[in-house]
Symmetry: D2
Subunit: 252 residues, 4 copies
Amino acid sequence: MIVNAGGVKCGQGNFIIIGGPCSVESETQIADIAEKVKAGGADMLRGGAFKPRTSPYDFQGKKEEGMEWLLEAKKKTGLPVVTEITGVEHLPLYDDVDVIQVGARNMQNFELLTELGNTRKTILLKRGMANTLRELLSSAEYILAGGNDNIILCERGIRTFETETRNTLDLAAVPVLKHMTELPVIVDPSHGTGHSYLVEPMALAAAACGADGLMIEVHSDPARALSDGQQAVTPDKFTEIVAKVRRVRAAV
Amino acid sequence: MIVNAGGVKCGQGNFIIIGGPCSVESETQIADIAEKVKAGGADMLRGGAFKPRTSPYDFQGKKEEGMEWLLEAKKKTGLPVVTEITGVEHLPLYDDVDVIQVGARNMQNFELLTELGNTRKTILLKRGMANTLRELLSSAEYILAGGNDNIILCERGIRTFETETRNTLDLAAVPVLKHMTELPVIVDPSHGTGHSYLVEPMALAAAACGADGLMIEVHSDPARALSDGQQAVTPDKFTEIVAKVRRVRAAV
Amino acid sequence: MIVNAGGVKCGQGNFIIIGGPCSVESETQIADIAEKVKAGGADMLRGGAFKPRTSPYDFQGKKEEGMEWLLEAKKKTGLPVVTEITGVEHLPLYDDVDVIQVGARNMQNFELLTELGNTRKTILLKRGMANTLRELLSSAEYILAGGNDNIILCERGIRTFETETRNTLDLAAVPVLKHMTELPVIVDPSHGTGHSYLVEPMALAAAACGADGLMIEVHSDPARALSDGQQAVTPDKFTEIVAKVRRVRAAV
Amino acid sequence: MIVNAGGVKCGQGNFIIIGGPCSVESETQIADIAEKVKAGGADMLRGGAFKPRTSPYDFQGKKEEGMEWLLEAKKKTGLPVVTEITGVEHLPLYDDVDVIQVGARNMQNFELLTELGNTRKTILLKRGMANTLRELLSSAEYILAGGNDNIILCERGIRTFETETRNTLDLAAVPVLKHMTELPVIVDPSHGTGHSYLVEPMALAAAACGADGLMIEVHSDPARALSDGQQAVTPDKFTEIVAKVRRVRAAV
């Protein structure tokens, strides 16, 4: 099955590369990164405006303002955009968003899934950090039940006892899901590992085992990122990863 | 700290016993169980009207209608009630609900937590199945940040590799949380184990290690329950458990 | 089923309390603690001479010498002793040991289990930190297959994502195992939590949910213990725990 | 660092492919598979003679006899061999074995590790199913402490809550370990997934993320294998995987 992601195809041999910052921080920040990931080979721009954060005292995202800056960057670069939704009530703000992301913490927010099933927007559904692949498909079923089959699944790591990585990236999820469903499956090696030095090897591994795309966090100055800087790669590194990913794709 | 749960005290030596079905199924079902758990020694009635279920094809709860039946049972028995909320938009329906439950799947639904922080309702916050105790406290912080400190924490089992039980009930969470916070902590041995034969021993263990209360699923005919019947105890068994729990409490 | 542990009965209502240090450190240390745990109500003395340690540079136990000191303490106090075995080749040293412990790391050391099945010694078999209860019983089966049914099972915590405790003590293991086997089941709240302040509440919880005994690490000067001091309780605290455990046992 | 595995180099760009059955079942079985994996591109032959099995009633391996058959196959094909050791006392049987495997269940059998540290044999050390990468390195340290640095590490999956796969193959272990140590790291996609259809994608992913080799279970008739048939690939499939792995290696 091929899913349309703002004019870009995902699935059935169509590989999608999404790049951008964890959070939209300012108008210039997102515009700058958008240009750079486009130049580096990205098919789509990511950037969070509404950020679900463990603590209420952490940076919560630039919200409505961030959304405007993101759409501005879309207009300038022509890149379609994906951004997370954290509550049903924000849905009207997503009209010009190409792909709506449901994050790991909301994978079983069934009210939200049901509402998204009533739209015809493309949904990027991330696996919850303690959820089985069957549960991921059951959550997709909430969206499908409303008649919306524009769904891309995303493996982003699960929670285990290992502490060297932020999560344990379960790459076998890719071929297992492809065995169970027609929906495309992409991989997020940034959240999946939590460390920038692990993004390239895990991106290549994802490409090798049959993923339909990648979502990679990119920041021009990772050390100063307002969220998750330790897992962001620079635009140069992103460009390098994209080139290598294309070589691995050609080989398999 | 003592939290007021519909006139019943919870915390600082005040032990609360909550009994009732997983789901409100009909007016007579909830009325019947309400009478029985009251007779058995319950301080509060539980019953789900909005049910977050893994699959969209499972029973989703009786919703508004179920809520009315639950409040009817409250009126008849005088028992305060606790019931789960699954979305911000349902909040107006909870005016006469004494304690609003945030389920495990919504422990990191920060929009919902923020909204509940703006009320002065008592919130029963359940630990997510893959969440650390620090994350549970960070979620409580979202409610506290709005000025609402009427919070009861609930350990209900975490997800591990063990398959003999539905979840692994992490009872050490009780003394650990009491070391970290003033908020009362109760235990749900029904979800925590998934099997009715394990409810009594785990309820006694929870009482022994210092929990401030218990939430136990009770059904008059567990084999015909519309949800989670295998973990429900009968009213007679509930009565027996309550008596034993009181003996253990007296001993410690 | 009742298992004989050096003259002390374990199982079927016979509750055994084992106390002593993680490691035998010196002749006077083990003699001193032996007297104190006996006075505090212990039925049996524990103390490790061969210590399986994660790093080769950690204290590895006093070995043969430690074993002699432990047996000396047995002679003086009359307390039967339990101590761990780490390799088949040490078996001749265990003639006067009453109960041989197979530690968590050796739960699936099948060569060792088979050899112990050929003895008629009482074996304390600890659950591995990533092993299911079915696997624990399969390991017991290796001992039983040799004709030795003098086996006591021990829950000591499993490995999960939670980091506030050293392991997650899975107390539901007690009633689940009692459902599956006749073998007695005891609990180790010291390794199960990793923190001395959690030993008492978890010991009481274990007693409440039907365990047949407890193994508690006791040290006269926990801060100077050569291993695992942070989870050891003092002799005074041990005495207090034993008294409370007896009250809980009387209540259930 | 380059480790010598029976004349084959492993590490620093030298990629080793190990193929063969889970268990040596008969003289003809291992001879037959040895020829086929050699033809398919294997650098080394695997086959278990001493099998650590969860239950004592499962097939336990052909032991001494199996070892002879394996060494016979080595002689005929010229392929070096790797086979597991389950107890110190069997060491004399391993004189002509090129690489001695320490299985996941024995990763913390410190007596065995210490003894292997006193040899100069090449050791294939598999990660335990609940062990962190730091613990894997601490176990390697037991071998190194004896002066033996001929060690190859092996990621073979860890235990998590996911049940679609036998284990969760933690491929990030490869770049993380390479960040922490000079020792070569190979991957076992057979145990790592438990299903033959997942062996190819995970083998390719391992090659893409920088592994120094692969260990793949191959059986001429997987449905009749005496152990782990569901995760074995046929010799034809093995040949195909090897070819694809070489293409991926060339691309990265």
